[in-house]
């Protein structure tokens, strides 16, 4: 099996290298063939792995590929851990990636950087696979930074666009802030566990749970809390949690396929995956879990609110991604790791679908993205419309659709959580349901229904794009519809993950939820009677009233609640604050250090000052050598007098 695992990881890499280095020679067809083939091989092999690990119940694989480095008696290795969690992740990653590859053939067909784009997305798939398949923290960090790198390259893909190359630098730097915490977390693990291997670290975790460390003298903190929070800072960067979320909306500057692949379905889920993978560590610190719970809840509600005021079709979906990532994070905080991964899975399908559908709209609209210039597209683009509808219903958690099962489970789990902050989190995720339904249907109504607001030229050319675009939509709509109902039982309540996820019985919210679980139908019936469903319905109705029945209302509301609107429009001021404080501040300090430190003090005072001082002294000393004998004699007599005095007195 080891060679299969190796092939899964390397096939996209080979595709990326061939398309990247020989793109000109093999041409467009060659580039998309070699990369798509590589990802297709990975996907098919991931099905083989699924059969082996899940259906046949084969043992989890944990082994090294090669030794990266030995230092200080520690072996740093590159290796794979393939258990049920990994199996699920590689299936999701390779499937979504394959759909995106196919879709890109149509979406990017007129772009001069065609080969380069395929090389990047295949490289991205490789990076993400390395991340999820890793059996140690070193390789995890490699994958972690590598997805950040490819994201940097892809957001700045249209390198002539000033906004794109601003956004990619911002994304990289914000991610680096997270990686900074992550790296310190890894360093802490190495120091106390003397290993970076998952299995060894997890095995020793229990014995380290009582260890306290001092970071500030005199203040004792639990080691597990410190490690948990440091690692989670990394997750906040990758999974765009407040306050490190600012890069994700801007990343929409990249071409649409990457929004689907990276900024919805895979890279942003890295943080969620990581925390779930580290569940044996997180279970040992309620403080860390509580922190995660609160951060997730803030993200889930407040980022959703921002989706209400956006007018760029991709940005609305981007904020919905932020909000949904918040839901996953909340689930992690409530120790419902399986629920987080379940939501990650359903979200990967319906969010990739929504982004690709948005891309289809953007293609039809000749690269216009403002929803105020759309409307009534339903009759021109029926496939895009109906697949978008499926995606939207899944997103808002309409009973029966995939998102319903995962989101409802999370909300129920949070309700059962006993941790500090769980009360706030419960209210936030509940209100979030209303907000989600509102902005989602606002988008759907403004794009596909109502008056046709585009110009005449655009309207004349409106049509459904080619089959390579629509087929991925259909292929993604299928799982967005059914994956929830199919997998809710095994994933949440029947122990699919086995030993891959560890939950302390005292925190096990899903187990308590499972006590009342009777089956898919029972779960749905229960959903119909509970608050989230009615909140979602209320959201849809509000959107319908405000954007179909009375389209003049939103404008009036905006005038009426100007302050709130301004706050939302400014995105709570995070961007301005960061620009002013961090970007501007570090440049100011840098200039100060340079001018006042290096140039004035060191060069001006110490270096040139020394040179000047020597020149000054020598100029003075020169006067002593007058050449007159009586001057010298006088000096000698004075000197003699001084010396004699000194000897006599002391």
């Amino acid at each position: 099996m080891k060679s299969i695992y190796l092939t899964i990881a390397l096939a996209p890499l080979i595709g990326a290298i061939v398309a990247g280095l020989f793109g000109k020679k093999i041409g467009r067809v060659g580039a998309h063939t070699v990369t798509t083939l590589g990802v297709a091989i990975s996907f098919l092999l991931s099905l083989v792995v699924y059969k082996h690990i899940v259906i046949d119940g084969g043992a989890a694989f944990n082994g090294a590929v090669y030794t990266w480095l030995i230092s200080d008696g520690i072996r740093f290795e590159i290796g794979f851990l393939i258990d049920k969690l990994t199996t699920l992740m590689i299936m999701v990653v390779t499937f979504v990636s394959l759909m995106v590859h196919i879709y890109t053939i149509g979406y990017m067909k007129d772009d001069p950087g065609y080969q380069r784009f395929f090389s990047y997305i295949a490289l991205f798939t490789f990076s993400m696979l390395m991340l999820v398949m890793s059996n140690n923290f070193l390789q995890l960090f490699f994958g972690w930074e590598a997805v950040g790198l490819v994201s940097y390259l892809l957001i700045g893909f249209w390198y002539q666009k000033e906004s794109a190359i601003y956004a990619n630098l911002k994304a990289f730097l914000v991610n680096r802030v997270g990686d900074f915490g992550f790296l310190l977390g890894i360093a802490a693990i190495l120091m106390y566990f003397n290993s970076l291997d998952y299995v060894e670290v997890f095995a020793a975790a229990q014995s380290m749970s009582a260890v306290n460390i001092q970071i500030f003298p005199g203040v004792e903190w639990s080691l597990m809390t410190v490690i948990g929070i440091l690692l989670f800072i990394g997750a906040m960067g990758k999974s765009a949690q407040v306050p490190l979320h600012v890069w994700l909306p801007d990343s929409m500057e990249g071409p649409t396929p990457i929004s689907a692949l990276i900024h919805a379905a895979t890279m942003v889920t890295a943080g969620i995956f990581m925390v779930a993978r580290m569940s044996p560590l997180y279970e040992l610190s309620e403080t860390a879990l509580s922190f995660i719970l609160v951060i997730g809840a803030i993200t889930a509600l407040f980022m959703g609110l921002l989706g209400l005021v956006q007018n760029d079709i991709k940005r609305v979906i981007a904020y919905s991604t932020l909000s949904q990532l918040g839901y996953m994070t909340v689930a992690l905080g409530a120790s419902a790791y399986a629920g987080a991964i379940f939501h990650l899975t359903t979200h990967a399908f319906y969010k990739a679908l929504l982004f690709l559908a948005a891309g289809s709209v953007i293609l039809a609209m000749h690269h216009k993205q403002d929803i105020r210039e759309m409307g009534g597209l339903k009759k021109y683009m029926p496939i895009t419309y109906w697949t978008s509808m499926i995606g939207t219903l899944a997103l808002i958690g309409f009973p029966g659709f995939s998102g319903f099962f995962s989101k409802d489970a999370i909300i129920e789990a949070v309700k059962l959580s006993q941790l500090p902050g769980s009360g706030f989190a419960y209210i936030a995720v509940l209100l979030g349901v209303f907000v989600t339904a509102l902005y989602s249907f606002r988008l759907l109504f403004m794009v596909f229904h109502g008056k046709e607001r585009m110009d005449e030229h655009t309207r004349a050319h409106l049509k459904e794009p080619s089959a390579v675009v629509t087929w991925p939509l259909i292929l993604l709509a299928a799982p967005a519809l059914v994956i929830g109902a199919m997998t809710v039982g095994p994933m949440l309540f029947e122990g699919y993950f086995g030993s891959a996820i560890v939950v302390d019985p005292g925190h096990d919210t899903l187990a308590r939820l499972g006590e009342t679980y009777t089956g898919v139908m029972g779960f749905m019936l229960h959903g119909l009677l509970s608050a989230p469903f009615w909140l979602a319905i209320a959201g849809i109705l509000t959107a319908w009233y405000a954007y179909i029945v009375r389209p003049d209302l939103p404008g009036k509301a905006k005038d009426r609640f100007q302050t709130i609107f301004t706050i939302l429009d400014r995105k709570y001021g995070f961007d301005n604050f960061y620009d002013f404080f961090f970007a501007g501040g570090s440049r100011k300090i840098g200039r100060l250090f340079w001018k006042a430190g290096d140039e004035s003090t060191i060069d001006g005072f110490m270096v040139d000052g020394t040179a000047k001082g020597i020149a000054w002294i020598s100029a003075k000393v020169r006067h002593m050598q007058t050449g007159f004998l009586y001057h010298y004699a006088f000096a000698m007599i004075i000197g003699l007098l001084v010396l004699i005095t000194v000897f006599v007195i002391f």
């Binding site: 030995i70 008696g73 700045g156 000033e162 790296l183 120091m191 970071i215 250090f593 430190g597 270096v607």
Partner: protein, 505 residues
Amino acid sequence: MFSGLPLLSLVIWLPIIGGLTLLAISRANDDNVVRWTALLLSGLTFFLSLLLYTGFDTTTYQMQFVEKAAWIPTLSINYHLGLDGISMPLLLLTTFTTVLVVISSWGSIQTKVAQYMAAFLIMEGAMNGVFASLDGILFYVFWEAMLIPMFLIIGIWGGPRRVYAAFKFFLYTFLGSVLLLVAMIYLFFQADSFAILDFHTVKIGMTAQILIFIAFLIAFAVKIPMWPVHTWLPDAHVEAPTGGSVILAAIMLKMGAYGFVRFMLPITPDASAALDGLIITLSLIAIVYIALVALVQDDMKKLIAYSSVAHMGFVTLGFFTVFSIFASTGGVKGAALGIEGGLVQMISHGFISGAMFLCVGVMYDRMKSRSISAYGGVVNTMPVFSAFMVLFALANTGLPGTSGFVGEFMVILSAFQANFWYAFFAGLTLILGAAYTLWMVKRVVFGKIANDEVAQLKDLNPRETLVLGVLAVVVLLLGVWPEPLVEVMHTSVNHLLEQVVASKL
């Protein structure tokens, strides 16, 4: 078949004698003959140094390839050469870089070609001599000798303020050298020998150790350079021709750090333990303060020069984590990561900063400007070059998968074990390093074509592609698999650690 050869003498004297010969016969030949001869000589030297790698025994910390002959017997000064796992990789870096410099200077140097090539060859021999010397006086001779060609390279082929820069460079480094000599003479009277290995074992009192430590510190800190004696470096880099910058960044800066591990740590371990806070503080200032200064530079060479100072901060930090670890745990677990990390960082920085300076050189050759604001949208006209530039820039930010990651990662892991805050401040490089490097890339490489000059840029020629391509392969290879480099260091580093924690009082 090569085992009988005095390899170390060959890698020192072959380029020196070759360089002198080039000078002597320069008038009789045209420039191309000179270039090919220089390439042949440096290539042969590199080949010989490869034999040092293949023939190296990783199981012993004893010096290898030792050559010893009496030089000034009355003062017991010997011509004494040898290599261990610390100096061998550095010697290899020197011979490798010199070949690349010869190739990269092919087209960009058109005046006094013979003298230029000769200067580099002589400097190569002297630098190899520094790494291979086991006798204090021999070391000192090579240490001083290598300054002269560099002084001439900056002073003759440099930019408009070359004379100021050359003198600043010379005076700064010369000041340190004098103190080095004084320290060595003192050690001679204690050890009754000029052998460096005898310096390692001689007992020295605390006051004397502190004084020697400070003398060494001044001598070596200037070379590294550490904050606050770093201000010669940006000036020297800005004025030096590309080849000079590459050698300066890739190798000369490593001399100071090499002095730390060859002289300071083993000769004055007690003083090092007492003053480790000073070195660590200066290292962290270099990492944070200098990174912020790099952020606001407009001159690309200055920016990379400052980035070098910040990266060398990791080297000195890694070397000195051992004392805090030993003080708190009574053992050296975690310290080898720091020292080996520092050594890896030295090698890696040689490749990456060399490559960055070559990239700036490529642009300078075409547009005669190093100013960031003179560029913009270079990727539109030079896509292949831009791919290399972005790769090396990312390596400069310590991206995993490139060699830049390995050393920083190891040093941060070790620093964390010494003190959380060491790792915290060192880790800030993740953000600051990315900020100054990628912000430069954004303004130079990406964007729309900024002006007509950029619009007329021609992409890399085959020779430039070769040089940058070789460096790219090395940077990636070392990032993906650093073990072949690190394994040669283990035994020597472990021996060094034993010396460092044993008191010499």
